[in-house]
Amino acid sequence: MNEQSMTVRGRDRYKSGVMEYKRMGYWEPDYEPKDTDVIALFRVTPQNGVDPAEACAAVAGESSTATWTVVWTDRLTAAEKYRAKCYRADPVPNSPGSYFAYIAYDLDLFEPGSIANLSASIIGNVFGFKPLKALRLEDMRLPVAYVKTFQGPATGIVVERERLDKFGRPLLGATVKPKLGLSGRNYGRVVYEALKGGLDFTKDDENINSQPFMHWRERFLCCMEAVNRAQAATGEIKGTYLNVTAATMEDMYERAEFAHELGSNIVMIDLVIGYTAIQSMAKWARRNDMILHLHRAGHSTYTRQRSHGVSFRVIAKWMRLAGVDHIHAGTVVGKLEGDPNTTRGYYDICREDFNPTQLEHGIFFDQHWASLNKLMPVASGGIHAGQMHQLLDLLGEDVVLQFGGGTIGHPRGIQAGATANRVALEAMILARNEGRDYVHEGPEILAKAAQTCTPLREALEVWKDVTFNYESTDAPDFVPTPSVAG
């Protein structure tokens, strides 16, 4: 379907009335994207009877300069430059009626350093456009010229590790449970036990803000007592993600300032606060030497279904630009959605300086990050010590592994749960570095470590059979073809 341009040129282009998008200049199969163009890849599912090229052109049009009819005021502008151009459309493999549309946008269409502006265009009105049944933003290529207008992660993986003095292994965390109902004093108890037992971090849950059972100031004060006490008990830097999510920016700044004043090294926010608030907090975190954790609360409402919404890989790219330091990116083996290949793509987006095109991981473009700080992915939700070899293999070393239930639910208490996780992790790193086939020998390595660690033995016993094997709703559309070359 990638035939020639149908663009009408000259005076006829601006005759009053309605004209097909593909004839207005939004369908340009001969266009070669410039290095400075922003490129978006959409999965377009036209309504029955709508010409695919017209549907793809309409997406380009509605996400850039077009409106439903010809307007003469276009002629007052460099309109051809500002028109987004769909330059390629391919049928989606194994999905009749859907097309991957590649659309290029001139850099001048976007305000420097603003996710709000970028997203208002790319995922604005166009997602409600009637001639489409469904639309999904799958991936974006962000030109270096645009990447360089963003701050990027306030701290970054390397400096986070330097500040914490923790190298060579994943970091360990746990979300305090129950999520709701603990008083500040009881909450701090969980934090102290988990950190003293061997975790690096504990975490507020996304919906722990300031409720009748625990005012935020009370939580912050009790948590910092716990953090400092655990630090003195272990000689190791500890932290707790104090959630500063609140109703207004002023409230969030107030909470963040208080966390800072109390000596916390990290605060957290929820994705639902919005892109502008996230960027504001990232700037605040950079100014205040604070690590900024992002909980991706709400993302599954628009990332999970393949037909419509925004892929999480795009959200991950936006969040790396926006400047958070931690982002939940899936566990593969845990309780929440996460195909292994798709998840691998997210982790690469967070941690690499260059992402080569890898369709089997859902990465449609080469992406240069131009030395923007790296973003630490967080694996959280339904994982336990018995999976340590799989987690290390799938997720690598620069990741926070968060065992909430897998710490707090230990039969001999929270400290024992934390110790079990830490021992399992260190034993696995030791074995990996020794060159052992730790993925296959994982259970043996854990069993051996458990010989000198009762808490680990008990943890392995309790959770040995727990897995979450459900079919993924968001697997890549492309599978690798075996190479014929030796």
Binding site: E162, G168, G198, L221, A232, G235, I237, V423, I429, L430
Partner: protein, 140 residues
Amino acid sequence: MRITQGCFSFLPDLTDEQIQSQIQYCLKRGWAVNIEFTDDPHPRNTYWEMWGLPMFDLRDAAGIMKELADCRRVYGDRYIRICGFDSSHGWESVRISFIVNRPANEPGFDLKRQEAAGRKVRYSTHAYAADRPEGERYSS
């Protein structure tokens, strides 16, 4: 108590064979290996004393094990750690760090609290060992 800084503090103390294997892992990746020692275990004490310069061009862990043995002979009553430095672009920092020697007795830390306005507390962590002068903290 046992301070739990570094990559392997929750495991039983590493044997020389295990240490050598970890060093070999660093060398295989082209990291420079450094030996550092201290008698101030404060968690924010970043700059431990260096036992010579990082060993940039070594291929064999045996040479570093010999340096470690020498370091232990002189400073065997203190903390000694091995660090691997990765100079590749985008990292340019420590990649792994683990303790390979500890004092016989680790007295731990005192958490000092200074009560401030409201319910605020100013915390400071003080190593009991640091009550004595540098160099005399762990030797009897």
